[in-house]
């Protein structure tokens, strides 16, 4: 078993716990924005896609990487945009200023 695997597993399990504790506390009111925000965060795979597309190791890898860059970057841009649009709509009925 490679040592990288073990250190990644540590990170994965700890991040899973942190995620579980944090997400449990997200109000059901915000479950739709939660899904779109985590989706935008997940689009960080774009950094891996950029490397594959820019390393030019083989034409196939470049094409696959290029598709991955477009797909994940559209998630990143669209995900943040729609999450913010949704959150701006959640207004309280109480006036903010007395």
């Amino acid at each position: 078993m490679p040592s990288d695997f073990l250190s990644n597993l540590y990170v994965f399990i700890l991040a899973g716990f942190v995620g579980f504790e944090l997400i449990k506390r997200v109000s059901p009111l915000l479950h739709t924005p939660l899904m779109s925000l985590t989706n935008a965060l997940d689009a960080i795979v774009v950094v891996a896609a950029i490397i594959i597309a820019g390393r030019q190791e083989s034409p196939l890898a470049t094409v696959l990487g290029a598709i991955a860059v477009a797909a994940s970057f559209s998630n990143m841009v669209g995900g943040f945009l729609i999450t913010d649009r949704m959150l701006r709509m959640f207004k309280t009925g109480r006036p903010n200023k007395p």
Partner: protein
């Protein structure tokens, strides 16, 4: 800067991004701080993407720039869709996320072969299978939500057997590849079979189960990104994937609990097919219907009203009319709340977003448990386009397919009014005894039109 030093700086920037990701989700816990969460996420993403462009491994930028522009060109319109289209947009974004993860996994395989280790092959195999099936599954889900594909479950005899055989085939090929990672013939076959399985997985699932399915696909998309982090030894991917995966997983559990069903039942149950005959055997019972004037009179005389919205409100695009009704009644001194069932609509939180879009203050959107303790003291429960989530058979009739499902107990309110197109049973084909109660008034018609008529009556004659 030497290339090693650059890589170390990049790693530090990824660490900062990872911390910001965790803060983003932490701040999302309340509507007050939620927008800071988005900002934190945006800063993290910009840092990570910007830093990656300085990675010394990059030799050519042409395709990177072009595809980043294409991504932005596709992403911006997808970020500007109508709120009613959010469920299908979400399914599509799961598809894109999974596609991206699968493509990178496939590229890693072909770049690495014939030097892919067995351990590496196991990681890549699992990652590519999950990514591929999530891609096609999410495309099908998006098609159903957009109503390009039929929303009803598509089932045939022996379906579960066929689906499981296909999934097993994909895993057997993955195992064969672990034994001999250099077998480049098997790899594309495995990918194709995983893609086919995604289609088989989601096709039999009906529209009413979409909240669970979309959450589950969310979870798969997240875990495929985390697995990709293992393949590429990238901690930021592992963390982002773990957060996304656990979020989707928790939402799926919440959705399943809200329907009193198990994962296996949702995925392999094809809800609503078996009990088609259940309602037919019952004798004809009478229902009371009412006109908009009568409904307006009852609402104007009430002091507390709970509105229960469902998918029907979204379909009729009635949320803005519902807001007008809320305003008119509130002005008359009626206390109006909204009772939100966790699985109302087509994705978790769907109703909240639609009502927030219509400018209804979020304190008025009340969760199921809380509203259930208020309902016995409520004068009028007004149901707009919801059916199964209000069905008292879930409490009383052990033979009902939804027995045990937690419901909004609207039958405990003093008067119940249901806006519905006709008496035809809901999506799941389950009869709703609520409609035959003496205290229930059926308001037949399109939700938007009917609510509009009530508002006119209230504005015209209703002096309080």
């Amino acid at each position: 800067m030497s290339s090693l030093a650059t890589v170390q700086v990049l790693d530090l920037i990824y660490l900062v991004a990872t911390v910001l990701f965790i803060l983003a989700i932490k701040w999302l816990s309340s509507p007050v701080t939620a927008r800071h969460g988005v900002l934190a996420g945006e800063i993290a993403a910009a840092l990570a993407v910007g830093a990656t462009l300085f990675n010394p491994e990059l030799v050519a930028y042409k395709w990177i720039i072009i595809t980043l522009l294409i991504g932005a060109g596709v992403g911006i319109p997808l970020g500007l869709v109508q709120m009613t289209a959010v469920p299908q947009r979400t399914a599509l974004s799961h598809a894109f996320g999974a596609l991206s993860a699968a493509m990178i996994g496939i590229a890693e395989y072909y770049v690495g072969v014939p030097h892919v280790t067995r351990f590496g092959m196991a990681e890549i195999g699992l990652e590519v299978i999950i990514g591929s099936l999530t891609f096609t599954g999410s495309v099908i889900a998006a098609g159903k939500l957009q109503e390009i594909l039929p929303q009803r479950p598509i089932v045939y005899r022996g379906q579960n057997f066929v689906s499981l055989t296909v999934l097993s085939a994909a895993f057997l090929l993955a195992i064969a590849l672990v034994v001999n990672p250099a077998n480049t013939v098997l790899f594309p076959i495995m990918v194709v079979i995983a893609l086919v399985f995604g289609v088989l997985l989601v096709t039999p699932i009906g529209g009413a189960d979409m909240p669970t399915v979309i959450s589950l696909l969310n979870s798969y998309a997240g875990f495929s990104a985390a697995l990709l982090g293992f393949v590429l030894n990238s901690k930021v991917l592992v963390v982002a994937g773990a957060l996304d995966g656990s979020s989707g997983f928790i939402l799926s559990v919440i959705m399943c609990k809200a329907m009193n069903r198990s994962f296996t039942n949702v995925m392999f149950g094809a809800f609503g097919q078996v009990q088609a005959g259940a309602g037919a055997a019952k004798e004809e019972r009478t229902v009371r219907s009412a006109s908009p004037e009568e409904a307006a009179g009852i609402l104007a005389a009430a002091s507390t009203v709970v509105i229960v919205p469902g998918y029907g409100m979204a379909v009729a695009q009635a949320q803005h009319k519902v807001r007008e009704l809320f305003d008119v009644l509130t002005k008359k001194g009626v206390d109006v709340k909204f009772g939100i069932h966790p699985v109302a609509g087509r994705m978790p939180g769907h109703m909240n977003v639609l009502l927030a879009e219509a400018d209804i203050p979020y304190e008025r959107l009340v969760e199921m448990d809380e509203v259930n303790s208020d309902l016995p003291q409520t004068d009028v429960a007004l149901i707009i386009g919801a059916n199964d989530v209000t069905n008292p058979a879930a409490r009383t009739d052990a033979s009902s397919p939804i027995y045990g499902m937690p419901i909004l107990e609207v039958d405990k309110a003093r008067t119940v009014m249901v806006i519905k197109r006709s008496m035809s049973p809901g999506f799941a084909g389950i009869d709703n005894p609520l409609y035959y109660l003496d205290k229930t008034l059926m308001l037949f018609g399109d939700a938007k039109v009917f609510v509009g008529s009530i508002i006119r009556e209230l504005a015209g004659g209703g002096h309080s």
